[in-house]
């Protein structure tokens, strides 16, 4: 059962770049050894926190997208919890939402194909409706 998860975590702002690299590579190897795949790792850089977390006003955000089972995520979260420089993390499952978005996109494209390009198309749906009523 493969699911896609987004794992966002905040590390303390005074962390050295190499240490962060090391942390990310350990997480990646953990994902690989648990039978998952890392889709992307994105460093979002230093950001101001909306509220103080462990007396920190800023933090470095990292976004990791991974595919795998729930057990994998469980292990990753446990790891993040015991890793001292990580001050906060959040895991969100994204595949269901992505499926929904793809479906909507597909429907829209099908509708666009069905209706050939007319002047009303630029006006969007509401424009089309009003044109139909007035005609």
């Amino acid at each position: 059962m493969n699911r896609t998860y987004e794992l966002m975590f905040i590390v303390r702002p005074d962390m050295v770049e190499e240490e962060l690299d090391k942390l990310i590579s350990t997480l990646e190897s953990q994902v690989a050894s648990s039978g998952g795949t890392v889709k992307s790792v994105e460093r979002m850089g230093k950001r101001r926190l909306a509220y103080t977390v462990r007396r920190f006003q800023d933090g470095m955000y990292v976004l990791l997208t991974a595919e795998g089972s729930g057990a994998l995520i469980h292990e990753l979260e446990r790891r993040l919890r015991v890793t001292e420089p990580v001050i906060k993390f959040l895991t969100v499952r994204v595949d269901e939402e992505q499926k929904r978005l793809d479906k909507i996109k597909q429907i829209r494209e099908a509708r666009k194909k069905k209706a050939p390009p007319t002047p009303a198309e630029t006006g969007g749906e509401t424009g089309g409706e009003t044109a139909a009523v007035t005609a």
Partner: protein
């Protein structure tokens, strides 16, 4: 709420448009001006439309702070639907996204007096 506003505002609000085009009862264009008021009610409330439906924004993501912060009050509270005009399905997704963003310190929790 949307139906109610339309039916109550239709006699007063849609009349000028009706004179020009008989039988026109389509939806009002998004973001258009309120229109002139002649007699009847003193104040006029523009019909609110759901931003996400109009602009066809489907992805409401917790990372999109700029989008989410439009629906968060100064104090950090989520602005209710009756003020923003967001439709129910989108408000549901919006509130989930705001709560996720709060959790990862992208948005403040409600309660800070500022």
């Amino acid at each position: 709420m949307a139906e109610e506003t339309r039916t109550t505002s239709a006699p007063a609000g849609e009349r000028p448009a009706g004179e020009q085009r008989p039988g026109y009862r389509g939806p009002r264009p998004a973001g258009g001006p309120g229109g002139p008021r002649e007699g009847g009610r003193k104040y006029f409330r523009r019909k609110k439309v759901c931003k996400f439906c109009v602009e066809k924004i489907e992805a409401i993501n917790y990372k999109d702070v700029r989008l989410l912060s439009q629906f968060v009050a100064e104090s950090g509270k989520i602005v209710p639907r009756r003020l923003t005009g967001v439709c129910t399905p989108h408000q549901r997704r919006l509130s989930t996204a705001i709560k996720q963003a709060r959790n990862i310190a992208l948005l403040p929790f409600a309660g800070r007096p500022s």
